[in-house]
Point group: D2
Chain length 284, copies 4
Amino acid sequence: MKKKKNYIPCAFRETDLALERTPPPSKKRGVFYREAMRGDIRFSALSVSDDAKREGYAAGRTLSLSIPAPFLWSAEEKGAVCDAFRLALQLFFPTPPVRLLVAGLGNRRLTADALGPLTVEAIEASAALPETLYAQFGLAPTTRIAVCVPDVFSKTGIESVRTVEAAVRLFEADAVLAFDALAARDKERLFRVIEITDTGTVPGGGVKRGSLSLSKGSLGIPVIAVGIPTVVRTDGEHFLVSRDMEEYVHSLSSLLAEATNTVFGDAPRLEDSEISAIFREAGA
Amino acid sequence: MKKKKNYIPCAFRETDLALERTPPPSKKRGVFYREAMRGDIRFSALSVSDDAKREGYAAGRTLSLSIPAPFLWSAEEKGAVCDAFRLALQLFFPTPPVRLLVAGLGNRRLTADALGPLTVEAIEASAALPETLYAQFGLAPTTRIAVCVPDVFSKTGIESVRTVEAAVRLFEADAVLAFDALAARDKERLFRVIEITDTGTVPGGGVKRGSLSLSKGSLGIPVIAVGIPTVVRTDGEHFLVSRDMEEYVHSLSSLLAEATNTVFGDAPRLEDSEISAIFREAGA
Amino acid sequence: MKKKKNYIPCAFRETDLALERTPPPSKKRGVFYREAMRGDIRFSALSVSDDAKREGYAAGRTLSLSIPAPFLWSAEEKGAVCDAFRLALQLFFPTPPVRLLVAGLGNRRLTADALGPLTVEAIEASAALPETLYAQFGLAPTTRIAVCVPDVFSKTGIESVRTVEAAVRLFEADAVLAFDALAARDKERLFRVIEITDTGTVPGGGVKRGSLSLSKGSLGIPVIAVGIPTVVRTDGEHFLVSRDMEEYVHSLSSLLAEATNTVFGDAPRLEDSEISAIFREAGA
Amino acid sequence: MKKKKNYIPCAFRETDLALERTPPPSKKRGVFYREAMRGDIRFSALSVSDDAKREGYAAGRTLSLSIPAPFLWSAEEKGAVCDAFRLALQLFFPTPPVRLLVAGLGNRRLTADALGPLTVEAIEASAALPETLYAQFGLAPTTRIAVCVPDVFSKTGIESVRTVEAAVRLFEADAVLAFDALAARDKERLFRVIEITDTGTVPGGGVKRGSLSLSKGSLGIPVIAVGIPTVVRTDGEHFLVSRDMEEYVHSLSSLLAEATNTVFGDAPRLEDSEISAIFREAGA
């Protein structure tokens, strides 16, 4: 049963990345997998049915963007990654939500775990502005955003999933977008994958182990989780990180925020029928 | 009706400080006021009955510590202020709570409003540690602390009072201790008063106007609010601040945190029968 | 001698803004002043000759951009302000420097004084990358940037001007670009002016009084200072600030950094012959 | 030549820790090593003569404090570590310097490299206060402190050693105290050793490789370097870190700063003749 290593249950898993958990797509009933390239960026669409889930998968759709190392990007390269992530967000939000809660999971003081809080810090909480102001400035975005940065249990004594759930209720959100740092198995994937999924997320997955899951199942509304691998777990007490992670974390959190502000602001939607098609074909 | 200036309703009040709102104690039925000195520190105890409240007061007890400017304090001076605040906390928590939620109100990125978040950042969330660890290390503090830093509405789109209320429920707290920056009317009082009260607090009082109140009335458990004046309101759009506020905010938030960690850790209680007496005499 | 109030010597001046110190341009020999509008943005070009200087002016050129309040800007409005500042930088750097030192003056922990450090934090220190890397990535920017954030005397015990001077020598810079927060006399100008000048700057002008000046005179290379008013001085111990300054500071520091990265990166130059003309006409 | 692994030249060394480089003391001429315990804390004093240096050692004295994991320390345990570090500082500064430059090396935004900047942030720059103020407050500390946080080359484009050297000249310092994060070979030593040495330090040793050394040799005044291991280097591109490093870094930087403020403030000196003796015996 060598394969088991790949499909260990969530709480003990070596990796948070779908890309590292997925067996070859043809080998498994109920698992659909498609790829497409856009310049240097690979879109990998994975869909797992409820049946397949029972055999070790998380049911739902995952889109993984494999991107160039976030280093000395030209404006064009940065634009291409930003557009790819905008497109990905659009695929998971075919209809813009009316009240979107954006959550930044993780520990902002720890560089390896700061991706979520840093991203959310740069996202505009449009729900904080009175409707009259929008009218006055001639703006009419469909989506109102509230944000939540719950910090980590070891700092607060309160489970971050519970804090996000409470924020969902207070804000009467109809969807959640959560950013978090992830753990990879292969150090070559650190900062090279942006994963977007509707299968739910376990905060603390990247750096410290959580146990509660943030998902549509528990909240009753769509939960889209966006993650980037920042660490490789080693022995439970230590992890492996990239020497340049500080630059990478800042560069990517800023990009994720900018794309999110654009998608849920009043910018026109991007169109890419081929990417939409592989996403649909994968069973989404 | 000259007096009106002093007793305007909360939402429009010029000052958050009880010291600046209090009329001479003898002038008013249901208002009791006592003072005592400890070295350079003046303890002012105010108690307002439910009856007096109807005439413009917040009912409850307030203890104001008038302290030396937080500048070039010797170790003795710092120790004296720290002890005064420890004593004040003990007076408001005669029995240590079992599950205490500590809230840091305000905007951490704005120096004038950062007192609450900075204080709470330095408070140990003892509830984050498993009970077994306490046993293992031979510790047995009575109080378990969880912390909540709700940030401000303009950044999150969610009322900070609601976030604290949700945290109270999640943590099943039996008391709340809230730190916040306040507005004074007189610029000479900036950073010269530590106010502790059980009359409730309106987050955003210092810098931005809030409307919701955090109080025993709404939460059903004791709410002790600790505030220090950091701004003088001028015209609604601007406020007056001290040139040295950055040093003052850091120095005092660190002192408040240290005293709080001590009071709710396993340190012995301070005793000061005279101060306890003026607090009792004031009607507390 | 009523006029004196307006032309008091630097060390005691009420305002750091040229716009608030300038007498009507026609009234004074050696003082040339021109204005032009670009949409909502007013360009005010001032030039003071060495002669006029002796009568109370700082000799040199100052370009003031009067901008809309940095609040709920649409992408177009933000782009217009960014372009205006790019144009201004180009006017002061007609030939790109080869080794540019960018200095962020002020106290990063104090929101009212954080503009310089926050701006510089987002500026790419291109001198940190080996030449071989530029070649490898096909880049060939003319300008190499090093950055210096000297912090303030009250935190370090070392004059920030001296630290910048030392960095100039270490980096062998051929020009300095310095960002700093300024004081205005009129609170309506807070965050509404971007001032670019080659007349030198006195760090600490905005919040705390400095005495040393950073200028071409002392350094022997061009010193271009960029400032935005963030405070109104009142009585030496206090100042007046805007309730929304935290949002404004972040929004504008991010814009200044983005424009600077663009101008000294490999983006094409903006052209605007009319603005160039008023700048020339003013005597520059 | 198996031993070579242990004594590789500085630029390629696996570890920054003297404890991990030292061969058994008796084995080597010119190398003196002594140990003593104080409660749970081991003092290891190493002295290397100029002769031994030529065979692979850095000449000078190093005192290593092996401390308990900085986790759930009681007030007593914290006090013991703080006292041990105070004692260590006193041994390296038998006569208090008159003008001491304290440098915080490393990258403050990267948790694993933030120890130096965080420590220095909490150290009082007593040189920033006018002498008249000290007189007015009845204080007369022997030592005036200025601080320097040079940031890292990859952020500034200027070598941090050069910036510290410039600060030494500007301040006319007669000694330097530098804090930095270090690399260990053995992950069990992370955050378990405080190393104090007069052999000089290579900033960037912990996380990124530096090449310039900060030492008495280059500066002409005593340079005392204090380091704590925060990472294990693996392959040049990655390193291993502790899951709990954020808590550890904050806890220890705060302790180092407090002890430094005490030693160079007006507190009485600690006396411990046995520890002084082992330090002397080691050849110091």
